[in-house]
Structures are given as structure tokens and as C-alpha cells.
């Protein structure tokens, strides 16, 4: 009887020691998935996903609280990369993907209040107090965060012209062959019913 108790206690103790050691040895620092997700996000900190920045959004994705299709600056490419990383199905962007646009300051109306400079997450606006401001076009991500704070409404979003880099063929008309079988069958059934 005593043997049995001692044997089981000894076994449990030995395993406890091994597990305790390996818990120290294999400790995971932070959240590695959130880090990987964060690396894929565009780091504009624009808040269009309704989170405070890219890092909180990455943490929400890693925790499974947020969908992967809420990042307009990243566009379709980011959604696909995230879907690939997390093994989820890619979805169309929640917010309709807008034509890529940049902010342009009407320099005649600008009063130099610096409010838009503070709002810009990527430091794409240059200027000083009581001096005219302007937008550095290649840096602008088109997040529209500077439009709201401007007291004289002198910032407009101007769509970018399509250059050689982002020009794409327009989508072809859907062909009858690529339609799913079920849809085709439904169409046949409907035709039969009406006949």
C-alpha cells in the first residue's frame, strides 16, 4: 500500500519537475502571431480598421476578434497575405476599395494652423506654424485623417492618375463556363419550369 502511494507520488513529482523545467525552457515571449500579422500590415496607423493603430489591429486578428479584411491602405494584397499566413479564406475588403487618392492642400487657403500635421500618421505633411503647408505626395497613403481637422477645409482628396505601375486590364465579362455548376443547373431548372 505504502509502496503504491510512494510510487505514484514519485512519478508525479518526477514529471512535475520535467514539466516545470521545460515550461521555463520553452517559454513564449509575447504573442508571436500578432508580431507576424503586424509585419504584414502597412504601418500607416490610420485607424480605418476602427482600432487605434496597426499593432492593436494585429493583436485583435491574432486573438480571432477581428476579420482580416479591414485594412484599406493595405488593400487586396494585405488581405491575401494575411489569409495565407493565418490559413483563413480571403475576403473582399470590408470597406469598398477606393481609388487610390492623395491629399492635396489648397495652398492659397491654408492658414498654417499645423492641425493637419499633427493628424498625419506618416508625417507626409510639411510646414510650420503660420507658414503654408504642403503634402509630400509619395509619402501620402490616402488615409483622409487630415481632412477632418482642417478648420478652413482646404484639404481635398485627389485621385491618383493610373501610371505604368498600377495599370490593370479591366475585368472581362463573366463567361458561362466559369460559373459554378450549381448556378448553371439552377438556371436550367428555371428554364425547364418556365417552358
Amino acid at each position: 500500500m505504502l509502496n503504491a502511494i510512494l510510487a505514484i507520488t514519485g512519478l508525479a513529482l518526477a514529471f512535475g519537475l520535467i514539466l516545470g523545467y521545460s515550461a521555463q525552457r520553452f517559454r513564449v515571449e509575447g504573442d508571436p502571431i500578432a508580431d507576424q500579422v503586424n509585419n504584414l500590415l502597412p504601418q500607416t496607423q490610420c485607424g480605418q480598421c476602427s482600432y487605434a493603430g496597426c499593432r492593436p489591429y494585429a493583436e485583435a486578428i491574432a486573438a480571432g476578434e477581428a476579420d482580416i479584411n479591414r485594412c484599406p491602405p493595405g488593400g487586396e494584397a494585405t488581405v491575401l497575405a494575411l489569409a495565407d499566413l493565418l490559413g483563413r479564406d480571403p475576403k473582399p475588403l470590408e470597406v469598398e476599395e477606393k481609388e487610390k487618392a492623395v491629399a492635396v492642400i489648397d495652398e492659397q487657403t491654408c492658414i498654417g494652423c499645423t492641425l493637419c500635421i499633427q493628424a498625419c500618421p506618416v508625417d507626409a505633411i510639411v510646414g510650420a506654424a503660420k507658414q503654408m503647408h504642403t503634402v509630400v505626395e509619395p509619402e501620402c497613403t490616402g488615409c483622409e485623417l487630415c481632412v477632418e481637422p482642417c478648420p478652413v477645409d482646404c484639404i481635398a482628396m485627389v485621385p491618383l492618375e493610373r501610371g505604368l505601375q498600377d495599370w490593370r486590364w479591366s475585368q472581362p465579362a463573366p463567361s458561362p463556363i466559369e460559373q459554378p455548376r450549381r448556378a448553371r443547373r439552377k438556371a436550367t431548372e428555371e428554364r425547364r419550369e418556365s417552358a
Binding site: A12, F15, Q36
Partner: protein
């Protein structure tokens, strides 16, 4: 030769999932995607081999000399739980994505009856050390092969036009049954 026979026997002829019907919970639960199934197969292989070896050692050098054979089941459960816990830590450290995808099924390897089944069958059939290890390893390879095959079939079923009454789990059950029938065909191959 005998060792090769053990491997063939556990992988094909006496496959733990499709012939002995052990470990069906992860077989149905983690077979939705091939990548997940592969990860689960690797984790289970690790656990099964390690627990088969360590339960042999504990049975042979602790329980039998002390005459405590009646404690076998609880001692084996203790071994398996510790090995699974260890595996969980290693997977969390080395592959956080796999850890996330496997979720609850990783700690549930503890209750995978194939794991306890291998440990107890090793004792029952009086296997030696190498035989025990091979028996556990073979069982795990058989489990992984069947799991990966099944998940590949399920991926294709997901894209197929299944009649309404059979959608979801129903068609999965039927598929598993047909696979089991197929594996029964190996039973004439050899006897152990």
C-alpha cells in the same frame, strides 16, 4: 524481419483508426485541412512514440518489480498527460500558428484512446523495449497517414456538389466508413 512486420501490421493491417477504431475524435475533428492534419499527425506521432517508450520503462522497471501492476492504467495516464503537456509547450514555442490552428485538439491528445491503447497493448502482448517503440511509432504513422488521406478527401468533398441530406458530417462519416472498408482489405496480408 519481425520489426518490419510490426510496422506493416500497425500501419496497414491493424490500423488503429480504421481497423481498431481508436482515436476517432481527432480523426473527425482535425481533418478539415491537409496542413492541420499533417501538424496533428506529427504531434500525435511524437506523443505516441514517446509515451509508448516511457510507459514501457515505467511498467518494466517501476510497476512490475514493486508488484504494482494494478496501478498500470493510472500510471500510464499520468505518463501520457505529462508527454502531451510537454508536446504542447514545444509546439507553442516552435510553431505558434500550428498551436493556434490545433487549439483544443492538442491537449485532447491526452484523451486519444489510441495513445493509452498502444501503452496497454504493449503490456498485454509482452513487447520488449524496441518492439514497444516500434509498435507506438507504427501506430502513430498509421494514424497520421489515415488522417492526412482523410483530410485530403474531405478537402475535395468540400468543393463537390454533395446532395443536401449528406452535407457536412454525414458525408464525412460515410467517407470514413468506406476508408475503413478499404483498410479491412489489408487483413489478409499477414497475421501477428
Amino acid at each position: 524481419m519481425e520489426y518490419a512486420l510490426i510496422l506493416v501490421s500497425t500501419i496497414l493491417v491493424n490500423n488503429f483508426v480504421l481497423v481498431k477504431f481508436l482515436g476517432l475524435c481527432p480523426f473527425m475533428g482535425v481533418s478539415r485541412k491537409v496542413e492541420t492534419a499533417t501538424g496533428m499527425g506529427l504531434a500525435t506521432t511524437f506523443v505516441l512514440t514517446l509515451s509508448a517508450v516511457s510507459s514501457y520503462v515505467i511498467n518494466e522497471y517501476l510497476l512490475t518489480p514493486l508488484g504494482l501492476e494494478y496501478l498500470r492504467t493510472i500510471a500510464f495516464i499520468l505518463v501520457i498527460a505529462a508527454v502531451v503537456q510537454f508536446t504542447e509547450m514545444v509546439v507553442h514555442k516552435t510553431s505558434p500558428l500550428l498551436y493556434n490552428v490545433l487549439g483544443i485538439f492538442l491537449p485532447l491528445i491526452t484523451t486519444n484512446c489510441a495513445v493509452l491503447g498502444v501503452a496497454l497493448l504493449n503490456v498485454q502482448e509482452a513487447h520488449g523495449f524496441v518492439e514497444s517503440a516500434l509498435y507506438g511509432f507504427g501506430a502513430a504513422i498509421g494514424f497520421s497517414i489515415v488522417l492526412i488521406l482523410f483530410s485530403a478527401i474531405r478537402e475535395r468533398i468540400a468543393a463537390a456538389d454533395v446532395p443536401v441530406p449528406f452535407r457536412g458530417s454525414a458525408i464525412a462519416m460515410i467517407t470514413a466508413g468506406l476508408m475503413s472498408l478499404g483498410f479491412m482489405g489489408f487483413s489478409g496480408l499477414l497475421r501477428l
